[in-house]
């Protein structure tokens, strides 16, 4: 649709969000918890922390839950009764809004969407994605771990958002970029003042510090390069990078229950675990942690990009900030871009 532009006072934005909550929207926002900030359901606007750059975890779980019931089963004799897990998803509260996330997190939605729909359609994902309205706030000051600009996005990108807000003094400029976004604000239009695109401050000229295409170029030809084994000696193989990542989507499928009744579930999984690719025969294509960290780079910057012509990374830097051993992916992809 054609983008629409609005202006809204900070106090009216508060009213808007509080109205959404009182109108039974499930509003998820950055929220302080245990000395850090995480996305969580807010009961009033003031619970949201809009000053934080990025919550510690992404909001991936609202698209791909930590554990999802694919179906439930019960067995009697040779007969098996299967109850489709999709029913529970379509029955969920449909009115979910992510408020106050950042452009990088929003970009993860359409990036994952490609994987979940490139061939077979994953309706679990689709149903959740369809019912999620995303209101992001442009970043003013990315930190040293951020590299969205290098990832074909920017701190002011609206890719994946339904509404992108830009703060200026005591007001916000709102670019409504999707039907979903427009539908969300329509009942509350009295709080918004429509303006033209020209009235919105232009995006800053964000500068790239490396070319991600060069990283891919390196990965294309240097699978066996020593860099991977040497550099990732310090990787302890925890899955934090993958679990806190907004685009890492690999999952496991497991049965839980007994032979009479139970469920088949899918759980978050991680390529950083040795067991991830361990064959029944005992053969493992990825023996060392270097092999496994390389796979994460390969998937993000080569495998995905060759399939979908985009990268499986939004440059949010969470994997770096959260890494217990201080492996900084920005430094790594920059290294690789320089090695070519």
């Amino acid at each position: 649709m054609e983008e629409k532009y609005f202006e809204i006072l900070a106090e009216d934005l508060k009213k808007f969000v509080n109205s959404l909550i009182s109108d039974n929207f499930n509003v998820i926002a950055p929220k302080d918890k245990d000395g850090d900030t995480f996305y969580g359901k807010i009961d009033k606007f003031d619970e949201a922390n809009l000053d934080i750059l990025l919550p510690k975890m992404s909001y991936k779980e609202y698209l791909l839950p930590k554990t999802e019931t694919l179906f439930e089963y019960s067995v009697s004799g040779v007969d098996v009764d299967i109850k489709d897990g999709l029913g529970a998803v379509t029955g969920e509260n449909k009115k979910r809004v992510i408020f106050g996330g950042r452009p990088c997190d929003a970009a993860a939605g359409p990036i994952m969407d490609k994987v979940f729909n490139w061939d077979y359609k994953d309706e679990f994902f689709n149903e959740r994605f369809k019912n999620l309205t995303i209101i992001s706030i442009a970043c003013k000051k990315p930190d040293n771990y951020c590299f969205c600009t290098e990832m074909q996005l920017s701190p002011e990108s609206s890719y994946g958002s339904d509404i992108l807000l830009k703060k200026e003094d005591n007001k916000y400029f709102a670019a409504v970029v999707s039907e979903k976004g427009l539908e969300l604000i329509t009942p509350y239009l009295s709080l918004f003042k429509e303006i033209t695109k020209a009235q919105i401050p232009a995006d800053k000229d964000w500068k790239k510090v490396f070319e991600i295409e060069k990283t891919k170029g390196f990965l294309d030809k240097n699978f066996e390069h020593n860099y991977f084994q040497d550099r990732f000696l310090s990787c302890i193989g925890c899955g934090i990078c993958t679990y806190t990542c907004p685009t890492c989507h690999c999952f496991d499928i497991q049965d839980e229950g007994n032979l009479k009744e139970g469920r088949r579930i899918r759980n978050w999984d991680s390529c950083q675990f040795a067991i991830f690719t361990l064959h029944t025969s005992g053969h493992n294509p990825r023996v060392t942690q270097g092999d496994r960290y390389r796979q994460r780079l390969m998937h993000k910057f080569k495998i995905y990009s060759e399939k979908f012509n985009k990268y499986l990374c939004v440059g949010c830097g969470r994997c770096s900030r959260n890494c217990p051993e201080d492996i900084d992916i920005k430094e790594v992809v920059k290294d690789l871009a320089g090695l070519i």
Binding site: D84, D122, E123, F276, D291, M298, H299, E306
Partner: protein
């Protein structure tokens, strides 16, 4: 709205104990086989014990059943091993690409299998037998560690009956029994003794990685097969089979979607990650 993870239930028609620890299970859905092509695979499971990935081992032209072979090794296969005819098995599929049965027409065909890797070979081999007139000379070379590790012993004689067909069965040195009448030697070694030429021929090779490695070398270097005409399958660990769960990717392919069937030329372009 379709749940792509939902299995169908298949009825077990017959169970063949192939070796000590391997079985072939013949299944039917609505009383017969399903539509699939040789080389494709499915996710098989006793519900409650988790899914396992297996290639089909029967010819899709045989309509009364579809079959797969498995070795009992973990929780899921132990579950399947406990089943009896009449029991139900959950099944998703067919998934993945398949052998180019059209492109193989008019060619001489060489089928090389090792151990349980013979399963997908059996599917394409029996398909070609079912359409015997479409293909030139067929050579089958199948090997296992010992006589007792050979699968499909009950159908070797059927294979030999087809016209213009040579069936060679071998076991690794030391794996023979006193009454063994087949060959003794590793598959790549026996392969080199066969009068094969790459010209107008296609080779299908499946088995343990080490066997594939040497068999490919022999076919290419000694017999002049083009890399495009040597076809194999990759057996990466998989979960979804649908190109989503991210487990099976190698280089830029998803083995479950872009594979499992690859030519030696395609394999050459993949990084050593399988």
């Amino acid at each position: 709205m379709e749940n792509i993870y939902l299995p169908k239930l298949a009825e077990i028609k017959e169970i063949i104990q192939e070796t000590n620890d391997t079985k072939t299970i013949r299944l039917a859905i609505n009383g017969g086989s399903i539509d699939f092509l040789p080389g494709q695979f499915g996710e098989f499971s006793v519900i409650g014990e988790g899914e396992s990935t297996f290639g089909f081992s029967s010819s899709p032209l045989r309509k009364e059943f579809f079959e797969f072979s498995f070795r009992t090794s973990g929780r899921a296969t132990t579950g399947i091993n406990g089943l009896n005819p009449g029991d139900k098995l959950s099944f998703r599929g067919p998934y993945g690409n398949y052998f180019d049965t059209v492109g193989m027409k008019g060619k001489n065909l060489v089928f090389v299998g090792g151990g349980i890797g013979m399963a997908p070979v059996k599917s394409i081999l029996e398909y070609c037998f079912d359409e015997r007139d479409d293909y030139g000379k067929i050579t089958v070379l199948y090997g296992a560690r010992t006589v007792n590790d050979l699968l499909y012993r009950n159908v070797f004689d059927d294979w030999k009956k087809y016209k213009n067909t040579e069936v060679v069965i071998t076991v690794d040195p030391g794996g023979e029994t006193p009454d063994w009448t087949g060959k003794v030697g590793f598959v790549p070694t026996i392969l080199e003794q066969l009068p094969l030429k790459g010209e107008n021929s296609i080779a299908v090779v499946c088995g343990p990685p080490i066997m594939i490695k040497f068999a490919l070398k022999s076919l290419e270097e000694k017999m002049g097969f083009d890399k495009e005409n040597i076809i194999t399958t990759l057996e990466n660990r998989m979960k979804c089979g649908l190109g989503k769960c991210g487990r099976c990717n190698v280089g830029s392919v998803y083995v479950c979607k872009d594979g499992p069937v690859f030519t030696a030329r395609e394999l050459e372009s993949l990084p050593n990650d399988f």
